[in-house]
């Protein structure tokens, strides 16, 4: 670098906020996680199965959805081990994120729980499970042996 650090700056007044995310229309999804189940949405009009679930169908514009419980069986299509983490994940150890294709045809992006990096490969069979830790409702893959 040819440029030197700045000799003179001043800090702006700080702003902090956290967005409030509406989850009401997908209540069934979040309740499902509480019960230990992971749901996808299925459009009552055109039959599209969606994950992440939706309240409105972008294909046929229908707004009536039913909820289908995902069987949970899937296969890893790709993955990464994240070493450099965002500020709000600094308390976590490095984590592994995978995208798996589920039996129902949808793809899910999630962490592989307790991943041993050597066990994670493209094609590895995984099970998608609901999780309800103190930090909030979520879901994760576990490796099938």
């Amino acid at each position: 670098m040819t440029l030197k650090p700045p000799k003179r700056t001043l800090k702006s007044r700080p702003i902090t906020f956290a967005s409030e995310i509406a989850t009401q229309k997908l209540s069934e999804f979040w309740s499902g996680l509480e019960k230990g189940e992971v749901y996808a949405s299925k459009c009552r009009k055109c039959g599209s199965i969606c994950f992440p679930p939706v309240a409105d169908c972008s294909r046929c514009l229908g707004s009536e959805q039913e909820w289908i419980k995902l069987d949970g069986k899937g296969e890893i299509e790709t993955y990464t081990h994240i070493a450099i983490r965002p500020a709000s994940f600094k308390e976590h150890e490095a984590y592994t994120v995978a995208v798996a294709k589920m039996k129902e045809g949808v793809r899910v992006l999630a962490w592989i729980a307790d991943a041993n990096p050597t066990e994670v490969k493209i094609g590895t069979k995984v099970k998608l499970v609901a999780k309800n830790p103190e930090s909030g409702l979520t879901y994760a893959f576990t490796i099938c042996n």
Binding site: T80, I84, R85, Y95, W111, P117
Partner: protein, 385 residues
């Protein structure tokens, strides 16, 4: 409709620019662009400002910049398309001329990122997908998204970490020849391979830096251009596409559909083919992204991008010189400025004033490929001398 010419370009030094404020940085790009076009702020009828960041002390940074450039009172629009923000600004300024609303417009791409600490910037940029489904619980990062592509591409096509490293080595080689680049030193394959893992399989030297910078492009109608310059560079076409926010809604990670679609549109409008370009700037925010771009733009067959760089075909003297200004990798990636910077660099190439990194110009055709997010947006801009 009129043809649209580039009649002036200007570029600030990219890098750690905490020595200047946002408007001062914009001035460093706009002044040389105005001088290049031999016009004054008075002659500019419309300004599009590409700024992607949400972290500024100003809520309306485009207005603050516009005032400083002497353009208060002119048509003004802030444009945003993630890392393709600069191209969105060019497209907007281009459309104002193309549709006959203005004779002279300016697109200014600008960003300051170095004032935000690393983990916070990783937090902000990591949200460049679908926050609720990818970040909230899973902490995706920007390198993480491209790592998903690298993992699948390596498995399917045998692309190697060494081939990724060769993209970095090539772009640093050319960055060292570019006085405006953030990094101006060559690196070796070993430097790249031994750098620390950021998001496996991507390592530090697979990633472009966070940078500050600005670049400006002045556009004019054909009639006006004739009065301003003897060496206009024509904007032949701009192809624009996009893709899903959620990457899990995409069928594979072997390329970027937005690139394929944007390129198809741009090639058709300009009536050109991928093998006709003399030089290209492609979006190498990560080394794998440059390899995907080779394939998605048709510079080589699908799956052969790693081989293309390994064979030196994307260097000067090769089949298609790519990122000979250093690319995002070495020149730096101030989000909003990257798209306009590509146009500045390629204009210098087509005018044959690129000095040590001049590519041979035979057909007088250049391509700029600017991706926003992980293929969330794509702009392909075709220039002709």
């Amino acid at each position: 409709m009129t043809r649209v010419a580039i009649v002036g370009v200007g570029h600030s030094k990219f890098g750690d620019r905490r020595d200047v404020s946002l408007p001062e940085l914009g001035f460093e790009a706009s002044k040389p662009a105005l001088l290049d076009a031999n016009i004054t702020p008075e002659d500019v009828e419309f300004l599009s400002v590409g700024i992607a960041g949400t972290w500024y002390e100003d809520f309306l940074p485009a207005v603050v910049v516009s005032e400083y450039l002497g353009l208060a009172g002119k048509g003004l629009m802030r444009c945003e398309a993630a890392c393709a923000t600069g191209s969105a600004a060019v497209a907007t300024a281009y459309n104002m001329v193309k549709t006959g609303q203005c004779d002279v417009t300016m697109a200014l791409g600008i960003e300051k990122m170095m004032g935000v600490d690393g983990p916070t910037m990783t937090e902000v940029i990591g949200r460049a997908g679908y926050y609720l489904w990818e970040f909230h619980n899973f902490g995706m990062t920007f390198p993480g998204y491209y790592a998903l592509h690298a993992t699948q591409h390596m498995k399917k096509y045998g692309t190697t970490e060494e081939q990724l490293a060769k993209v970095a080595v090539k772009n640093h080689k050319y960055g060292a020849m570019n006085p405006t680049a953030h990094f101006q030193r060559p690196i070796t394959v070993d430097d790249a391979l031994s750098s620390r893992v950021v998001a496996w399989p991507l390592k530090l030297y697979d990633c472009c830096p966070v940078s500050d910078g600005a670049a400006a492009v002045i556009l004019a109608s054909e009639e006006k251009a004739k009065t301003l310059t003897d060496s206009p560079v024509w904007v032949e076409s701009i192809g624009i596409s996009s893709d899903t926010a959620s990457v899990s809604r995409r069928s594979d990670f072997l390329g970027l559909r937005a690139t394929v679609k944007a390129a198809e549109k741009a090639f058709k409008m300009a009536n050109v083919k991928p093998d006709m370009f003399d030089v290209a700037d492609v979006h190498d925010c990560f080394t794998i992204a440059e390899i995907l771009a080779y394939e998605d733009l048709g510079f080589c067959e699908k799956g052969k991008g790693g081989q293309l760089v390994e064979d030196g075909q994307t260097e000067i003297g090769g089949k298609i010189p790519v990122n000979v200004d250093g690319g995002l990798k070495a020149k730096g990636h101030p989000l909003g400025a990257t798209g306009t910077s590509m146009i500045v660099g390629l204009t210098h190439q087509l005018r044959k004033e690129a000095g040590k990194s001049q590519a041979p110009i035979k057909n007088g055709l250049a391509l700029a490929h600017n991706v926003g997010g992980t293929g969330h947006y794509c702009y392909v801009t075709i220039l002709r001398s």
